[in-house]
């Protein structure tokens, strides 16, 4: 199969598993997942994955760790989030900062 076809397989598999996860929550007995440990692990996995995705997207370049225009961009994003700016404003500002710095020949 071509890489394009494999991407389709992954898209469909991810979608099926996402639906099954959501559906399971609507059919399991309510008492089941009241276990605080299970609840806590679920919350921490969300936080851990998002933090890891952020870090690798901000500082990763292939198998290397680099500091480039993205550092300034995510710093601006962090300040905007702290100032409670809307999500879309944060994302666009980060893109603008990185694009601007690269236009100037940095990073």
């Amino acid at each position: 199969m071509t890489p394009y076809a494999w991407t389709w397989v992954a898209v469909v598999a991810a979608a099926a598993l996402a639906f099954l996860t959501k559906y399971a929550g609507h059919v399991v007995p309510e008492a089941w997942l009241e276990n605080p440990r299970v609840h806590r692990v679920s919350g921490f996995v969300t936080v851990g994955l998002l933090a890891a995705l952020f870090a690798t997207q901000a500082f990763g370049s292939g198998s290397a760790i680099v500091l480039d225009a993205r550092v300034a961009a995510v710093a601006v994003a962090a300040v905007l989030l702290w100032r409670r700016a809307p999500f879309i404003v944060v994302v666009i500002a980060a893109a603008a900062v990185a694009a601007g710095l690269r236009l100037l020949g940095w990073g």
Partner: protein, 227 residues
């Protein structure tokens, strides 16, 4: 029922605000190498913003399809808990209704539903359906616009789209960092992912970070749970 108008307004404004960042998802997905059809399939079928961003993030970083599926699925585990939180006012449901409810069980629909008074079952149901379906329509329509826009531009890094993806993950993470322990888990996960990046194939460092989070949640004494 005019009594529910305020709930509907809340649902619509959350839908539009959430839908707006479908623009970022659509553009980033195309920049990651997916085509417009695959991008739309993720929005329509997978339909969970964090998992969608995770999927394309792993692919963009050179990770395998299997790593993308695993990361996306782990990030979607919380949606399973939402169904349980919704149970007191959503059950019982007919099979088709239940399938539709499951598809739109996401952060936003759950949050707006649970924000209504606990004793007002009608308001909670209206909030869930209006937000769930509202986000579904807005998110996918605006994702299509983003994907078409993303197809029309050249090198995504010239436009800072790699930085935009990092900012998107930071934005999804930010509201979950209220507790000290959540901050510690986030910091440890980020450090582990970066430390393993030179050593492991792309995508696996992120799953290793998830293992750190599982260990932290397993061992932590009873205390507040990040939402």
């Amino acid at each position: 029922m005019p009594r529910l108008d305020a709930t509907r307004q809340q649902a619509v404004s959350v839908s539009l605000a959430t839908g707006a960042y479908g623009l970022a998802f659509g553009a980033l997905s195309v920049a990651a190498g997916l085509d417009v059809w695959q991008t739309m399939a993720l929005g329509l079928l997978l339909f969970s913003g964090g998992s969608q961003f995770a999927f394309i993030g792993v692919i963009a970083g050179g990770g395998s399809g299997a790593a993308a599926v695993a990361t996306s699925t782990l990030l979607g585990v919380r949606n399973g808990f939402y169904g349980i939180a919704l149970a007191p006012f959503m059950r019982p449901m007919r099979p088709l209704t239940r399938a539709a409810a499951a598809q739109v069980t996401i952060d936003e629909s759950t949050a707006v539903a649970l924000a209504q008074p606990a004793e007002d079952v009608a308001a909670r149901r209206v909030a869930f359906w209006w937000t769930g379906l509202g986000v579904f329509v807005a998110w996918n329509a605006i994702t299509l616009a983003g994907a078409l826009l993303g197809s029309a531009i050249g090198d995504p890094t010239d436009w800072g789209l790699d930085a935009a993806a990092a900012a998107a993950f930071l934005g999804l993470l930010w509201p979950r960092l209220a507790s000290r322990r959540a901050q510690a888990v986030a910091a440890a996960s980020a450090v582990v992912a970066l430390a393993l990046t030179p050593l492991l194939p792309a995508g696996l460092p992120i799953l290793a970070a998830a293992a750190v989070a599982i260990a932290a949640g397993w061992r932590a004494p009873g205390e507040e749970v990040p939402q």
